[in-house]
C-alpha cells in the first residue's frame, strides 16, 4: 500500500490504532472458514463514524478495499481480505448509546459483543432473541451484516426481525441514517433491510437500533429419540400443524449422536437414527401444556424414548448432546466444514436422506444436526485439508447438497451468508435476474467496488450440477 495512504489513514485514526506488523496482518488474514486466508495491508480501529467517513473518502480516492470485521467468526469467508486492503475493527466502538424502556429499543455501536448485549437487556427484564452459536464472541455489527440466525429462530425470527434503524457510512463518506425507534415507518424504500445481511459490501454500519421484547418468564426442555428419520421429521411437522411454535426444535442425526457419545460417554443410545430437542418458553401453564403436547406428539409418531427435564439443571444435562455436537464432530478429523443448507421444514426428512446419499456417493464423512424447526440444517463435513483428492470430493458433495436443497425449494445458505465461499453458487438460488438487480444495487452504493470486494458476487458462477431426480 502506498505510503501517502498509510500516512493519511494514520493521521485520521491515530498511530495507536493502526496495526501493520507481520503478526498483526497475519492475525487478520482469516476468519472461521476453512481454507481461506489472505493478508490485509493494514488493520485499523477507528473511534467513531466521523473517522470512518474520513477513511472511506481516502479509500475511495485511492481505490483501496475496506473489509469491516467483527470478531472473525464468519463461516463463509465474509471477512477474509480478497486483494489486500484495510481491515476495519470495531473494538473501540462497543458502547450502548441509548436504552429506551418506553419504546423497547436499544441503540448500540457495532463492536458490542452479542452476549454482553443480551445479558444487559435481560438484567432489565427484556429480551433480544437472536442467539447465533458464536454469540459469546461475535459482535452485533457482525450479526447485523450477516443477518445471523440461531437456535431460537423458529419462534422469534432472526437478526433482521429486530433491526429498526441503522447509521451507515457510505463509501463516498456520507453518513446515512435509516429507520428509527418507530413501530411503523413507510417513508420510502426500506433501506434498513438492505444493509442487514449485506455482508459489508454496501457501507460500514456504525450504529444499530434494535427492537426488544419482554423476557419470557418460564422455560421447559425435553428430548425425544427416534428409530427413523421419517418419525422425527413427522414429529416436527405435526408439532407445527398442531399450532405449537416451540422456541427451539433441534435435530441430531445418528452420526452426530455417535460422535457425541464417543466424546462424552453420557449413555446416549447409539442405535437410534435421530434425536429431537424440544423447548418452549413463555407463561408457565402454556409452556407446560405445549411441552406435554409435543412429547405426546413425539410418542404418537413412534418416539422410542422421551424425557422432560424436571428443572434447569436437568435441562442443561439433556441439552448437552446438542451443545457439544460440533465439538464432538470436530475432534474426529483435522478439518471441519460446517454448511447451512436450508429447506422448508416439511422437506426435512428428504433433505437429511439426500445428504446421507450424497455423502455415500462421494465417499465423504458428513454428519448432520441443526435447527429442524426452521429447516436449517448443518451438514458438517469431517475431512483433512491436506488430502487434495478428498477435498475435491467434498466440494463436489457440497455442490450437490446445495442443488438438492434448491430442488426442495430451499436455499444455499440459511444463516451463514454468501461471503466469498458461496459466491459462485449465489446465482443458483437467485437466478440471473436476481444477480443483475443485486449488482445494480451494489453499483449504486459502491461504484468503485471498495466495500468488501470479492464477496457475494463471484467472478464466475459454478456450473450447476444436474441431479437425476434424487437417484
Amino acid at each position: 500500500m502506498n505510503k501517502t495512504v498509510i500516512e493519511k489513514i494514520t493521521h485520521i485514526v491515530g498511530e495507536k490504532y493502526v496495526k501493520s506488523s507481520t503478526a498483526q496482518l497475519l492475525a487478520y488474514s482469516y476468519d472461521a472458514t476453512a481454507n481461506f486466508q489472505r493478508l490485509p495491508d493494514l488493520v485499523i480501529s477507528p473511534g467513531n463514524a466521523e473517522e470512518i467517513a474520513e477513511v472511506l473518502k481516502v479509500c475511495s480516492e485511492y481505490k483501496i478495499s475496506i473489509i469491516p470485521r467483527g470478531s472473525g467468526t464468519n463461516l463463509a469467508a465474509g471477512t477474509v481480505p480478497y486483494e489486500g486492503g484495510i481491515v476495519i475493527l470495531f473494538n473501540r466502538m462497543d458502547q450502548i448509546l441509548n436504552f429506551d424502556k418506553e419504546n423497547l429499543t436499544i441503540t448500540v455501536q457495532p463492536g458490542i459483543i452479542s452476549e454482553n448485549l443480551c445479558t444487559f437487556v435481560e438484567s432489565h427484564g427484556l429480551f433480544y432473541p437472536p442467539d447465533p452459536s458464536s454469540m459469546r464472541i461475535s459482535t452485533i455489527g457482525g450479526n447485523v451484516s450477516e443477518n445471523s440466525g440461531g437456535l431460537r429462530g423458529l419462534k422469534y425470527g432472526v437478526t433482521k426481525d429486530y433491526v429498526k434503524g441503522l447509521q451507515v457510512v457510505l463509501p463516498n463518506g456520507d453518513i446515512l441514517e435509516t429507520g428509527g425507534k418507530l413501530a411503523k415507518d413507510v417513508a420510502g424504500y426500506d433501506l434498513t433491510s438492505l444493509f442487514v445481511g449485506a455482508e459489508g459490501t454496501l457501507g460500514v454500519v456504525t450504529a444499530i437500533t434494535l427492537k426488544l421484547i419482554p423476557l419470557p418468564q418460564y422455560k421447559m426442555t425435553s428430548i425425544a429419540y427416534f428409530e427413523s428419520l421419517e418419525d422425527a421429521a413427522r414429529t416436527v411437522s405435526s408439532i407445527i400443524a398442531n399450532k405449537i411454535i416451540p422456541v427451539t426444535l433441534e435435530f441430531l442425526d445418528k452420526k452426530t449422536i455417535i460422535a457425541v457419545e464417543q466424546y462424552m460417554r453420557i449413555g446416549l443410545s447409539t442405535d437410534v437414527e435421530a434425536m429431537l430437542l424440544l423447548e418452549q418458553d413463555g407463561e408457565m401453564y402454556q409452556v407446560e401444556q405445549d411441552v406435554n403436547e409435543m412429547v405426546r406428539i413425539a410418542k404418537d409418531n413412534g418416539a422410542l424414548f422421551t424425557q422432560i427435564a424436571k428443572d434447569a439443571q436437568e435441562a442443561e444435562q439433556i441439552k448437552i448432546a446438542r451443545r457439544v455436537a460440533l465439538s464432538a464432530l470436530a475432534k474426529l478429523k483435522p478439518t471441519v466444514i460446517l454448511e447451512d443448507a436450508t429447506v422448508p421444514r416439511s422437506e426435512l426428512a428428504k433433505m437429511v436422506m439426500s445428504i446421507n446419499d450424497i455423502s455415500e456417493k462421494y465417499m465423504v464423512n458428513i454428519a448432520t444436526f441443526g435447527h429442524a424447526g426452521d429447516g436449517n440444517l448443518h451438514p458438517t463435513c469431517l475431512t483433512d485439508l491436506r488430502d487434495e483428492d478428498e477435498m475435491q470430493r467434498v466440494e463436489a458433495a457440497f455442490e450437490e447438497i446445495f442443488e438438492a436443497a434448491l430442488t426442495l425449494g430451499g436455499t444455499i445458505t440459511g444463516e451463514h451468508g454468501v461471503g466469498e465461499m458461496k459466491a459462485p453458487y449465489l446465482e443458483w438460488k437467485i437466478g440471473p435476474v436476481g444477480i443483475t438487480v443485486m449488482k445494480n444495487i451494489k453499483q449504486a452504493f459502491d461504484p468503485n467496488n471498495i466495500m468488501n470486494p470479492g464477496k457475494v458476487f463471484a467472478k464466475e458462477t459454478k456450473k450447476r450440477v444436474v441431479v437425476d431426480g434424487g437417484n
Binding site: K19, S21, T22, A23, Q24, L25, L26, A27, Y28, S29, Y30, D31, A32, T33, A34, Q37, L39, S45, S71, G72, T73, L89, N91, R92, I113, S134, R136, I137, V324, L326, S327, A330, K331, P334, T335, V336, D384, L385, R386
Partner: protein, 438 residues
C-alpha cells in the same frame, strides 16, 4: 536464519495439533492477553496458532512482532477448556518456544534471567537451597530492612523489587496435628523446589494435614524440579532429565497417589506421560506417574477432610475469604470445586466467590519477570476485582500466584486490610486449635 527458523518449526511443532484448530474463535474471550491488548487478535490463542502455522508453512517471516506474540502468551491455558475442538494449546506453545529457543540467541536480559533460573536455581534443588539459605540469613539478621533502606534493590528492575517485598518470612517449626481419622491410604509427596525452600512451612503443614486424616506420607529423597518452567519456556530438552529422574524415583507400588501442593507443578506432572510419550524406556513409568498425580485439595477431600470439618462447631467470628484459581490447576488438572468445597466447610470462613477468579493473575511462572508491563496490567485488573470484593483473605493454590497476589496487595497498599495465603496454610491455621496436640 528465516529458513533455519522455518525448519525448526517443522521439526518441533506438530502439524496435526495445529490443524485441530478450526479458527472458530471461541478461545478469544478466555485469553487474558487478548483482553488486555484491546482485543488484538495477534495476542490471542487463535492468532498465535495461525502464526505458528504461518511460520511453519513459510507464509510469514519470523520477525520481532511474531516473536512478541509468542512471548506475551502467559501459558495459562484458559483457552483449552474454552476450545470446542480440544486443541492442545499448551503443547503447541511449548513446542513453539522449543523451536524458537533452538534457533535464536536469547536477548541479554532474558538470557541473564534464564541462565540464573534454569542453569542454576531450578536444575538442582541444592542450588535452590543455597539461594534460600542466603535469603534466610538475610531475613533473620534483619538485613532485609537495612538493605531495603540502602536501596540495594534499586540495581534490579522494578518488578523484582515488588516481588522481593512479598517474599515469605523464614519457616517456623510447626505443631503437628492430632490424628482424627483413619484414611487407610499411602501417598508420596512431591515437594516441589519453590515449595520446599521458600515455603517449607507450607510443606510441613501439608504433611501434617494428611497425617491428621490418617494418611501415610512418604517423602522420597533426591527429588528433582518438575521441569514445568523449562517446558513453558522452550527449555524442555534441558529439563527432560528432571522428568526422567522423577518418574524413576517415584516408580513404586508402595503408594496410591503422588501428591503436590503447587498448581503449576501439578499440571506439568500430570503431563509427564505426554512429554515422555516418545521415549520407550520411560513411557510406561510416566503414564503410571501421571495417573497417580493429585493436588492436595482433591486428596484431602478423598481422605475425608470434609466429613471431619462437618463435626467442628461453626465460629461466631467469620472471616471473609475468597479463592483465586491457579490457572494450571483449573485448566489442566480441571480442579476447581475441591478447594472451594473445603474453604466453604471451614468453621471460621464466610466464603465469597471472586469475580473472574478463573482468570490469570499475571504470575505465570517467570512471565512476570520477563514481561513485567503486561503482567502488571493483568495484575492491576485482578486487584480491581479483589478491591471490589474486599476479602480479608485471598487463598491461592500455587506459589507463583501467591507471590503475585502478595505483590499486588503490596503495590495497592492494602496490607492492613487483607492478605494472601496458600490453601494448605489456611486450612491448617483454621483448624489447628481443634486438632493441635496439647
Amino acid at each position: 536464519m528465516q529458513q533455519q527458523m522455518q525448519q525448526s518449526f517443522e521439526t518441533n511443532v506438530d502439524e496435526n495439533l495445529l490443524l485441530d484448530c478450526m479458527r472458530c474463535g471461541f478461545c478469544l474471550p478466555s485469553c487474558p492477553t487478548y483482553l488486555h491488548t484491546e482485543q488484538d487478535e495477534a495476542q490471542s490463542p487463535r492468532g498465535r496458532i495461525a502464526l505458528m502455522k504461518a511460520v511453519r508453512d513459510g507464509i510469514v517471516p519470523f520477525d520481532a512482532s511474531v516473536e512478541k506474540s509468542f512471548d506475551l502468551c502467559l501459558g495459562c491455558r484458559a483457552c483449552e477448556p474454552a476450545c470446542p475442538a480440544g486443541v492442545q494449546y499448551g503443547a503447541l506453545i511449548e513446542q513453539t518456544r522449543e523451536a524458537v529457543q533452538e534457533v535464536k540467541h536469547s536477548s541479554f536480559l532474558e538470557k541473564t534471567t534464564r541462565t540464573i533460573v534454569f542453569n542454576n536455581l531450578f536444575v538442582k534443588q541444592k542450588n535452590m537451597e543455597h539461594a534460600v539459605s542466603l535469603l534466610h540469613f538475610y531475613q533473620k539478621t534483619g538485613m532485609q530492612k537495612a538493605v531495603r533502606k540502602i536501596g540495594f534493590l534499586n540495581l534490579f528492575p522494578k518488578h523484582l523489587k515488588t516481588m522481593e517485598a512479598s517474599l515469605p518470612p523464614v519457616a517456623k517449626k510447626i505443631q503437628p496435628l492430632k490424628q482424627v481419622k483413619t484414611a487407610a491410604m499411602k501417598v508420596a509427596f512431591f515437594t516441589g523446589c519453590l515449595m520446599d525452600t521458600l515455603y517449607k512451612e507450607t510443606n510441613d503443614k501439608t504433611v501434617s494435614l494428611l497425617q491428621m486424616l490418617g494418611v501415610d506420607v512418604i517423602i522420597p529423597d533426591n527429588q528433582n524440579c518438575c521441569g514445568a518452567l523449562h517446558g513453558h519456556s522452550g527449555e524442555l530438552k534441558r529439563g527432560k532429565q528432571n522428568l526422567i529422574l522423577n518418574v524413576e524415583l517415584f516408580d513404586s507400588d508402595d503408594y496410591t497417589y503422588i501428591v503436590n501442593n503447587a498448581g503449576g507443578c501439578g499440571a506439568f506432572l500430570k503431563e509427564y506421560e505426554k512429554h515422555l510419550h516418545s521415549d520407550e524406556r520411560y513411557r510406561e513409568k510416566a503414564i503410571r506417574f501421571s495417573k497417580k498425580t493429585i493436588d492436595i485439595s482433591s486428596l484431602l477431600v478423598k481422605a475425608g477432610l470434609l466429613d471431619y470439618l462437618a463435626t467442628l462447631p461453626q465460629q461466631a467470628n467469620q472471616t471473609l475469604v475468597t479463592y483465586q484459581d491457579s490457572c494450571h490447576l483449573r485448566n489442566v488438572n480441571k480442579v476447581f470445586n475441591e478447594p472451594r468445597m473445603i474453604l466453604q466447610a471451614l468453621p471460621n470462613v464466610h466464603f465469597k466467590e471472586l469475580q473472574n477468579a478463573h482468570t490469570c493473575c499475571g504470575s505465570a511462572g517467570i512471565y512476570n519477570l520477563l514481561q513485567p508491563a503486561l503482567a502488571g496490567d493483568i495484575l492491576d485488573a485482578k486487584m480491581a476485582t479483589i478491591k471490589a470484593l474486599q476479602p480479608t483473605v485471598i487463598v491461592t493454590a500455587n506459589p507463583g500466584c501467591l507471590l503475585q497476589i502478595q505483590a499486588g496487595i503490596h503495590k495497592a497498599k492494602l496490607e492492613v486490610s487483607m492478605r494472601a495465603t496458600h490453601i494448605v496454610d489456611f486450612i491448617y491455621n483454621s483448624i489447628a486449635k481443634y486438632s493441635k496436640i496439647s
